[in-house]
Symmetry: C3
């Protein structure tokens, strides 16, 4: 099934119709906005991180999204438990390596996670993706310091090594697997001025992967939907405050004509 406007909309409609339960172990900063974005796109979000229950929650979920944005000991323990259970159950795992490269703890945790359980999808900015396999990269916090393009080599290696789809997001989003590369050029310059839209993108990858067995198509669809909703929102906004609000409305109301007219893909 080729990745085009028609199929992206079909994937979105699938999310809306099936409303998959997406289990998130994510960071404190974005929990509210991620849950709202999952609801707006039509999915059912649940946040749960206690080692006592993460396996039970995975058992009723259709996708697991792991985001290390505000990691700590007990949470990392829960991430491993949930990931192992998801692998056994056979539901897709999305990993968002927030701030990998910024501290050794983050880099180490991400590397141990992918070694224990290769995720179906990894989504990060250029420096985060590079830090996952390259000891030389310096990350400036959670912002992308390196050019997106320079991370493509890392993404390609990572994709080979893990047999995963790797998305390097930025002004252009690159979606890479062992055989394919897709580029989504939608989005707006204000989007990085809203905290957690990257985390939201990862959560949407989870929603789309929950209803589509092809993680490459799921990731490309999620990133296109993100970018297009962001563009529509930016046109109605006066800054990053209103963008965040309009983004949820745009996601909720997104229709086939908007995807058809706006999709910029290569």
């Amino acid at each position: 099934m080729p990745i085009n406007a028609e199929n992206i909309f079909a994937n979105l409609e699938n999310v809306r119709r099936r409303s998959p339960l997406v289990h998130n172990i994510t960071n404190y900063v974005v929990m509210n906005t991620t849950a709202n974005a999952l609801l707006a796109v039509g999915a059912s979000p649940v946040m749960a991180h206690a080692p006592e229950e993460v396996e039970d929650m995975v058992n009723i979920a259709l996708a697991l999204v792991i985001n290390i944005g505000t990691l700590s000991g007990h949470w990392v323990e829960a991430m491993f438990k949930a990931a192992l259970r998801a692998k056994k159950k056979g539901i897709p795992i999305v990993l968002d390596p927030v701030g990998a490269g910024a501290t050794p703890y983050r880099t180490r945790t991400v590397r141990e996670l992918i070694q224990a359980v290769p995720p179906a999808i990894v989504r990060g900015n250029a420096s985060e993706i590079m830090a996952m396999i390259d000891n030389l990269t310096k990350t400036k916090g959670v912002d992308s310091a390196a050019a997106t393009e320079a991370a493509l080599d890392s993404a390609s290696h990572l994709s080979q090594q893990l047999d995963s789809v790797v998305c390097v997001s930025g002004e252009t989003d690159y979606i890479v697997d062992k055989k394919n590369v897709a580029m989504i050029k939608n989005g707006h310059a204000w989007m990085p001025k809203v905290t957690g839209l990257g985390c939201t993108a990862s959560a949407l990858c989870g929603a789309f992967a929950a209803v589509n067995p092809d993680p490459f198509a799921a990731t490309a669809s999620a990133m296109a939907v993100m970018g297009i909703a962001g563009e529509i929102a930016a046109e109605k906004s006066s800054g990053p405050g209103s963008l965040q609000v309009e983004f949820l409305d745009a996601l909720f109301n997104l229709n086939s004509a908007e995807i058809e007219q706006r999709l910029k893909m290569a």
Copy 2:
């Protein structure tokens, strides 16, 4: 005092005038939006969960709201400590059993909590309320899977057993105690598309119970105010993003005429 528009507004004005301190031990997803809703309705929110301080915080609060949405070991310990202190002090406790039935950990925790300290008010969706006393119900995450009506039996039993007010919220909100049932039919279909409006309803129950010794009237008033503010907000919104913003403004500005004109109660 009958539950009608005039008295609901009088209760709201009481909250605004007395600005009760409401102590919340709640989930990460909704802390910000819950605090904002409590401020908008006129109350003073405080969030505190450390076992080192929850009893001291209860000591200065007029209501305690316990919400298990992202529970974990230390937090559950704090919930018990705070609840026991609140009982001893004699301030109302509101319990929101988020996701009860979704995992054994949640179900068990809620049942142990109500056994240790029967709350004044329990507010949940249909499947959560059923899971509190019924081992057969399956919850799909934190969304309501069962029809609200089917939970009324559970609510009635729970209300008898705990001598509590039980609110089953949904398209129609049912408020049940040992002798009475009230139905509030306000609200809007988009409200479940905003994360945490259920949690907000529980927090508002706490604010109203803090200034009204009758927990049945407090719960009915809080649910009516929620639903009416949600309706007003929806009329000014383009989707769930703007609904969340407009809801706070509607709550802040809610007047007696709006309650009079819109209240749908049986």
Copy 3:
């Protein structure tokens, strides 16, 4: 360099141009809104609290903001580690003593923190500032119970004792150090109806202090920018919900003319 509209705008432009990484160890309620405010003002926020990584994060940051709003054992441990590292590295620390005086745990933690590592800047409301050095003050939760003016004595003593800038915020914001007092009279009555705008003010102090070696000028600039953005936002708002959104837009778009026309300082 005198504190006037021209220099406040120059400081803001410095934040925008240098986009300093501000490391926040803050409370769950405000993480999202604080991160968004830091992005809107032009800084780069990062939230990290694990003892395993806080020192590494301080190593790449230009300011550290510590906020005890939802403190607990492990977090307090991380606050000490991060503060000691920041002191050694020589970057400014901002302390927000949320709820000091409300519980002994908060009061004790804040006092131990300032004894171990005197911060460059302390920002709190009147009762919080008083609770830092005065055992007699009663705080009603996290709201200011005492008149701002009555806290000025405490602020002055605290400033002498720690060699810090102390900001007592309220209808008038007082910025105090050993030699100077500045008053900022900007802001709007709705601002306390949005949760976490005080915490946001502290975070902005961190952003300004990161690019300005004079903590008094940094604090006064941050508080002026907060108040002016709040006023602009309030004029476009219908209540605290829209105020929160408009505030981020106003912060993002703030220009020299707006500062020039609106600054109310003494």
